[in-house]
């Protein structure tokens, strides 16, 4: 039978818009940070730790400060969140975005029963028991259902904004259900990401520095099977010290993955099949190097205008040597989301953006922060996207 399971809340949704970053919400999120870290099982899940870290007071304060308070902004009302089916904690960030911007929220979580979802919901429920948070309670509805178009249709028709995670296919599916004329759709489509590394900077690192860089790179990639939209697929080596730096870097990464990463069985075949296909089909391959099946690196002779087709998963990278960053600018298209970087100054990056009229790239962050969620995401300023401005003169 088609059914909606209410993990938090019930079918009596409220449409409450409150001012953005109101202090009750901020307190609630700080409490969530603490309660998550008190949960018996939190240590098993690095993504829970990351979430708790994100929720801590200091971080919320920074976000609040970054938001220009001169404007009078309030939430839109009811936000419907459709979260990706295979990232267990994404729904929580989506909810927090909605709360911070002053909205009531209906969150659809993955139908797969991730333990992380239980932990987070348990913690939220625990905090919501406090009398202080009775208003917040009215703003959180968390649902789980599968193949129940009627529900998606109904909520779409009444919500003030819809946040669709999950890529092009999901967006197309969900957009079949029309919104109110006044309502907004915020959709995160399939994206491509890349990483630029200053080769010289790798050669200058000592062992512990190198270890840190490799660990950060691992966290941006292998930690999510290199399958998040902000995980880099293409590595651009800058400078003419490429080959030595590459060897050191990949070798170190391989050793790290040997200790840390278990390649899922089917992934291992998928990865190798993709490699064989690429080696046969791609016209611009210079060479290929593998470190068992854990790490594959395909070196490209030149770039073409299809870089977003270069998609490795589970530790499969394409690399390209470039004298400078400017050269790659013409290959950056709308599909490019995140540029992570190692050993490049912010100044150079800023010039790169300003000078080149880039068609894509919405985020430029140091390697290690590729997956850090922020209210500037995918080219949207979520603060603005989920709130409305009241013009007071």
């Amino acid at each position: 039978m088609k059914k909606v399971e209410y993990l938090i809340g019930n079918k009596h949704f409220k449409f409450i818009s409150s001012p953005i970053y109101n202090s009750l919400v901020c307190d609630f999120i700080c409490d969530l940070s603490k309660v998550l870290l008190q949960h018996a099982n939190y240590k098993k899940y690095p993504d829970i730790i990351t979430l708790a870290f994100w929720c801590r007071k200091q971080n919320i304060d920074i976000m609040k400060r970054n938001f220009s308070a001169n404007e009078l902004r309030v939430g839109l009302g009811l936000v419907f969140h459709i979260t990706p089916s295979n990232v267990p904690t994404n729904f929580a960030y989506s909810l927090l975005f909605g709360l911070l911007t002053g909205n009531s929220n209906i969150i659809k979580v993955p139908s797969k029963k991730f333990e992380q979802i239980n932990i987070i919901c348990d913690c939220i429920k625990k905090i919501l028991k406090k009398k202080k948070y009775i208003q917040i309670k009215n703003k959180i509805t968390i649902v789980r259902y599968n193949n129940f178009d009627e529900f998606t249709d109904k909520i779409s028709s009444i919500c003030d904004a819809r946040l669709i995670w999950g890529g092009n296919k999901s967006i197309k599916e969900i957009r079949k259900f029309t919104l109110n004329p006044r309502s907004r759709d915020i959709a995160f489509s399939d994206r491509f990401s890349l990483c630029a590394i200053n080769a010289q900077s790798i050669l200058e690192l000592d062992q512990s520095g190198l270890n840190r860089v490799v660990e950060k790179f691992y966290n941006d990639t292998y930690l999510v099977d290199q399958n998040a939209c902000s995980s880099p697929h293409l590595i651009v080596w800058l400078g003419n010290k490429g080959s030595k730096a590459k060897n050191i870097f990949w070798q170190k990464l391989y050793k790290y993955t040997l200790k840390k990463y278990t390649l899922p069985k089917i992934a291992s075949i998928d990865k190798y099949t993709k490699l064989c296909e690429d080696l046969i089909n791609l016209p611009n391959i210079k060479s290929h190097k593998n470190y068992t099946n854990l790490l594959h690196v395909v070196t490209l002779k030149n770039l073409d205008f299809n870089i977003n087709k270069l998609r490795g998963k589970w530790g499969y990278f394409y690399e390209y040597n470039s004298k400078n960053l400017d050269y790659i600018a013409k290959f950056i298209d709308q599909s490019c989301q995140t540029l992570t970087y190692i050993g490049i100054s912010k100044d150079i990056l800023k010039k790169f953006v300003v000078k080149n009229n880039l068609k894509g790239i919405d985020r430029i962050v140091p390697t290690g922060q590729g997956l850090s969620m922020s209210l500037n995401w995918d080219g949207y300023n979520i603060n603005q996207a989920l709130s409305r401005i009241i013009d007071l003169k």
Partner: protein, 355 residues
């Protein structure tokens, strides 16, 4: 490849380990060179994998193709006008199917080797054959290509072919009784898919409706255990049930892939698949390191047959295990191994998916 003709004269399980290792090293390297010289795609792949073509490489060092590559690409090592037949794998709806390109020689060798292996089990004479399926004329060919191909392929080892099921998938007792009363008193051959055998012979067949039992039958079945695993039926229980109900003791499971049609693996009486003179197996972990005997991993299969397409050395998506010191009293030479089913579909982490 003249050596193939030579071993076609021998018993298919005659080579001891030492001889087989030498023979395979020779032959698989030769095949690798053949495909390298005759398939552009294969050559490009081998070059990019930084593999140096030599005559005397250890076979475990030669790059293997993942079976799925035959679904993604059209791979053949002969001129296109020499291709006389394209085999397709089952491929459930929506999935791509493998395309295996055969020229005359390759197709003929498949039949010869299959015959060799089948003769060992059935004897040299064609036996009356009961097929646990519908008449292949009534099977939708576009959907069940592999099923039709298997039935067709094995039919040449039988005569007086009789199909157990009518058009509505019901057991045709009239036909069955006709068959049993004519041929049931001496050796006959039963062929079918494992799940069909279980469903029809074990679950549905009413013994009081038939005149003779199956004690003279030799049953060959294949196609995988997935459906039966869901019913918690192991190979052992399967055999036990067949023996108990039908008084049928000669039951053989076979394992084979469309990518290596012909050099199939037939189970011995002790319940192990045996690599014949025409095939060999290795086991690898997910990083593709070789595993030792009695360790479970991906089955890598070698076959001497593929000449018109580069399928002589493939990595399957099946989990297997080579059994050392198998408690096997059969006199046949060749590695003993078990197949533990296919790996599950990937669970993809990452954000580009929502239900």
């Amino acid at each position: 490849m003249r050596e193939l003709e030579k071993i076609l004269l021998e018993d298919p399980y005659s080579m001891d380990k030492q001889n087989k290792d030498i023979f395979f090293k020779n032959y698989i390297n030769k095949l690798t060179i053949h495909h390298y010289n005759n398939s552009k795609e294969y050559k490009k792949l081998i070059n990019h994998l930084s593999y140096a073509i030599k005559k005397k490489n250890e076979i475990n060092k030669i790059p293997f193709l993942p079976v799925r590559l035959f679904k993604e690409l059209n791979l053949y090592s002969v001129k296109k006008d020499k291709i006389i037949k394209v085999l397709n794998s089952s491929g459930t709806s929506g999935n791509k199917t493998s395309k295996i390109y055969l020229d005359k020689i390759n197709a003929l060798n498949q039949v010869k080797v299959l015959q060799k292996i089948m003769n060992r089990m059935l004897g040299k004479e064609r036996l009356p054959m009961l097929i646990i399926d519908r008449n292949i004329k009534n099977i939708n060919r576009t959907n069940f290509n592999a099923r039709v191909a298997a039935i067709n392929g094995f039919s040449i080892f039988g005569r007086n072919h009789t199909f157990l099921l009518d058009e509505n998938n019901n057991i045709n007792y009239d036909e069955l009784n006709k068959f049993l009363s004519r041929y049931g008193n001496s050796k006959f051959f039963i062929f079918g898919f494992t799940s069909f055998i279980f469903e029809n012979l074990i679950e549905k067949l009413k013994m009081n409706k038939i005149k003779l039992d199956f004690k003279n039958a030799i049953l060959l079945h294949g196609g995988g255990w997935k459906k039966l695993e869901n019913k918690k039926i192991s190979n052992k229980t399967f055999k036990k049930e067949i023996s108990k109900k039908l008084n049928l003791k000669n039951v053989f499971n076979y394992y084979g892939l469309v990518e290596q049609t012909g050099s199939i693996f037939v189970e011995c009486k002790c319940g192990y698949f045996i690599a014949s003179n025409f095939s060999d197996v290795l086991i690898r972990d997910s990083n593709f390191n070789l595993l030792k005997n009695n360790q479970k991993g991906f089955l890598q299969l070698f076959s001497l047959l593929p000449t018109s397409y580069p399928g002589h050395n493939i990595l399957t998506e099946d989990i297997g295990e080579i059994i050392q010191n198998a408690k096997c009293s059969c006199s046949m030479q060749g590695k003993r191994f078990l197949v533990h089913g296919r790996i599950e579909k990937a669970e993809i982490r990452g954000c580009s998916d929502a239900e």
